[in-house]
């Protein structure tokens, strides 16, 4: 149990060290500083040092404090996968074409009633498109798969 509580802190410490290494590696490609005052690596290198020190402290005190509240990760992972698919399909299918199946699938997966999901999934993307594209004059993707109006 304790090991399970410590694992995220060890992971966070590892990520911080990795980020510090990336900062130092990246800074080797920057232009050389003419003087201390104009040194572009001053703050990034200080940040890298702080990251390593913090990582050591986090690993040292791993598992300390109250454990965070957790539910079932499966629901969130499902939503993340579906949302990634939506992000990939937005330029191809457009807000309405991608939004309707995304909302319906996710709402049903969450356990929402079928009729409510169908109505909500159909109305919401169309309403959002109307508000942004027509009401606020902010263009949203209509989808490259469909023929352009008048085109």
């Amino acid at each position: 149990m304790v090991a399970r509580r410590r694992a995220p802190d060890y992971a966070a410490a590892g990520i911080l060290v990795m980020l510090a290494v990336v900062i130092v590696w990246e800074s080797t490609r920057w232009p050389a500083a003419a003087a201390f005052a104009g040194n572009p690596t001053l703050v990034p290198h200080s940040l890298a040092v702080l990251m390593v020190v913090t990582a050591i402290a986090i690993a040292w005190f791993a598992g300390a404090g109250m454990p965070a509240e957790r539910g079932h990760a499966a629901g969130a992972l499902l939503a993340i996968g579906a949302t990634a698919a939506l992000a990939a399909l937005l330029p191809v299918l457009g807000v309405i074409g991608a939004g309707i199946p995304y909302l319906f699938a996710l709402q049903r997966a969450c356990g929402a009633p079928g009729r409510v999901s169908a109505i909500s999934a159909f109305v919401t993307p169309i309403a959002l498109y109307a508000v942004f594209a027509k009401g606020l004059n902010v263009p949203l993707p209509i989808g490259s798969l469909w023929p352009m109006p008048g085109g």
Partner: protein, 491 residues
């Protein structure tokens, strides 16, 4: 300085139909979002920023201010009715609000909560109006060393946002500093941390980052606990409180308003701290403290008035110094910059008309939620039961569409998604996301001002010794750091 003529013009502007309608929309949306457990005012502001792009600046800003003020108030509705705080700030309202509802006084509790929030909110908005121009005048004398010191102070205080685990807050803040560095070097102008990706040369879109961290990640969190259904709220009747009852709370209001304002101005702590402080003090000084926790109306009044009294204080350092004190004001600051308005003392010098319109908007927003809250109490009471299985997927869709709408850039959609996942993982493991967002803002301010200061001092760090204000702020930062570390050791 404060200009009563400009303030009157500000009120006139807010009551123009094209602004007033958005004030009311913001008020209703804020109460609704605040009343739904799991959705916060910060999330609503981040989600709705893209809707303000094409509005005139004051309409958009007034709408977001209304969401902020009414969202803080709306959290109390769910606290009273179903014992679940709608927002973290409303946790203290549960203590006496829920017992009142159980005794058949749900309407009376909501009425007292509404009027009390309004009193606290209007007080803090008036204080903001009076004190912000004074602080901005002082800040006009600030130069690079003072701004560097302020950024350091803000960064140290963000560690306290992690409660008893400031190391986690520090880790989040350090990650935020790195995120803020992606783009161009502030002095040299060469690209850094873009890893050859051309779209990263201009840096990450801050609003896309905020939507990911505050909206999408929270939606993912909600999806983890989707199985739990909301309890049925009790009937809401007789909402309008009696005048004598409200007047009898005058001591509670004086104390809560002062607590709220002071806590609000202090960076890193917000409405939830002020409401608990005020509640404890009201209980401690009461003639019969045993009544508290069993349905004492003063408990509801103390918690609600203090949480809304902190809103004006939260806005004060953001508007005058460009240093956001908490997550909600960081998001509001992002909204201002989108409309090409850079918060700080120069805003008061260059656009005093707009600053006074913001003051007027904040005062009106606090009056608006009192009227709307009392009139629509029964309707808002039913909102706490909204089906999250339908709502949360809509939040996910809106997050991505909002991110795309910022600059019609598909890259921003991916930025939002990545930060949504990062935020979810952080919260799931007890790492707060607010320090990350604050560090993105304060990091740029800290780095550019440090390097300017060093150029001013020809590379001599001792130049800070000749700047008493900068030195005092750095000393305060050091003391805060020591206090945070001591608290961590005790925990």
């Amino acid at each position: 300085m404060f200009d009563s003529g400009l303030l009157l013009q500000g009120f006139w502007q807010v009551f123009q139909p094209e602004v007033f309608v958005f004030l009311m929309i913001g008020t209703v949306l804020g109460i609704v979002v605040g009343a739904i457990p799991g959705l916060t005012a910060t999330m609503a502001i981040a989600l709705l920023i893209p809707f303000t792009f094409q509005m005139n600046p004051i309409s958009g800003i007034v709408m977001l201010l209304a969401i902020y003020a009414s969202g803080i108030y709306g959290g109390g509705i769910a606290s009273i009715l179903i014992r679940t705080p709608g927002t973290p700030a409303a946790a203290a309202t549960v203590l006496d609000g829920y017992p009142m509802a159980q005794q058949g006084h749900a309407g009376r509790a909501i009425g007292i909560a509404t009027i009390s929030s309004g009193i606290g909110g209007v007080f803090s908005a008036i204080c903001l109006t009076l004190f912000a121009p004074i602080l901005a005048t002082v800040a006009l004398r600030f130069s690079a060393p003072e701004y560097f010191a302020l950024a350091v102070f803000g960064l140290v205080v963000t560690m306290s946002l992690a409660g008893d685990a400031p190391l986690k807050g520090l880790a989040a803040a350090l990650a935020g500093l790195l995120v803020g560095m992606i783009g161009l070097d502030p002095i040299g102008g060469f690209p850094r941390f873009n890893f050859g990706v051309a779209e990263l040369t201009g840096g990450l879109n801050f609003v896309a980052v905020m939507i990911g961290l505050f909206s999408l990640s929270e939606a993912f969190r909600q999806l983890e606990t989707m199985g739990t259904s909301m309890p049925v709220p009790p009937a809401v009747r007789d909402v309008l409180p009696r005048l004598w009852e409200i007047l009898s709370f005058w001591k509670v209001y004086v104390r809560s308003c002062v607590f709220g304002l002071v806590v609000g101005v202090t960076p890193g702590i917000g409405a939830e701290t002020s409401s608990f402080l005020s509640y404890s003090e009201t209980r401690r000084t009461a003639r019969d403290p045993s009544r508290f926790g069993k349905g004492a109306p003063e408990g509801v009044a103390a918690a609600q008035s203090a949480e809304n009294a902190s809103t004006g204080g939260d806005l004060l350092p953001m508007l005058t110094l460009g240093v956001p004190g908490d997550a909600a004001t960081a998001v509001l600051m992002g909204a201002l910059t989108i409309h090409n308005l850079q918060p700080g003392p120069l805003l008061f010098q260059d656009r005093p008309d707009l600053v006074h319109q913001i003051f007027a908007g904040m005062i009106c927003a606090n009056v608006a939620f009192v009227i709307v809250g009392l009139v629509g109490a029964r309707l808002f009471a039913s909102v706490v039961q909204v089906d999250r299985r339908v709502l949360v997927p809509i939040v996910c869709l809106l997050s991505l569409i909002g991110a795309y709408a910022i600059e019609n850039n598909p890259m921003d959609v991916w930025v939002t998604l990545i930060f949504g996942v990062v935020g979810w993982l952080m919260q799931r493991n007890g790492y707060p996301v607010s320090p990350l967002v604050l560090a993105v803002i304060l990091g740029g301010m800290m780095e550019s001002n440090l390097r300017r200061a060093l150029v001013m001092g020809q590379g001599d760090v001792a130049m800070f010794l000749d700047r008493p204000i900068a030195l005092a702020i750095l000393a305060a930062a050091a003391l805060t750091f020591v206090a945070v570390i001591r608290r961590m050791r005790r925990a």
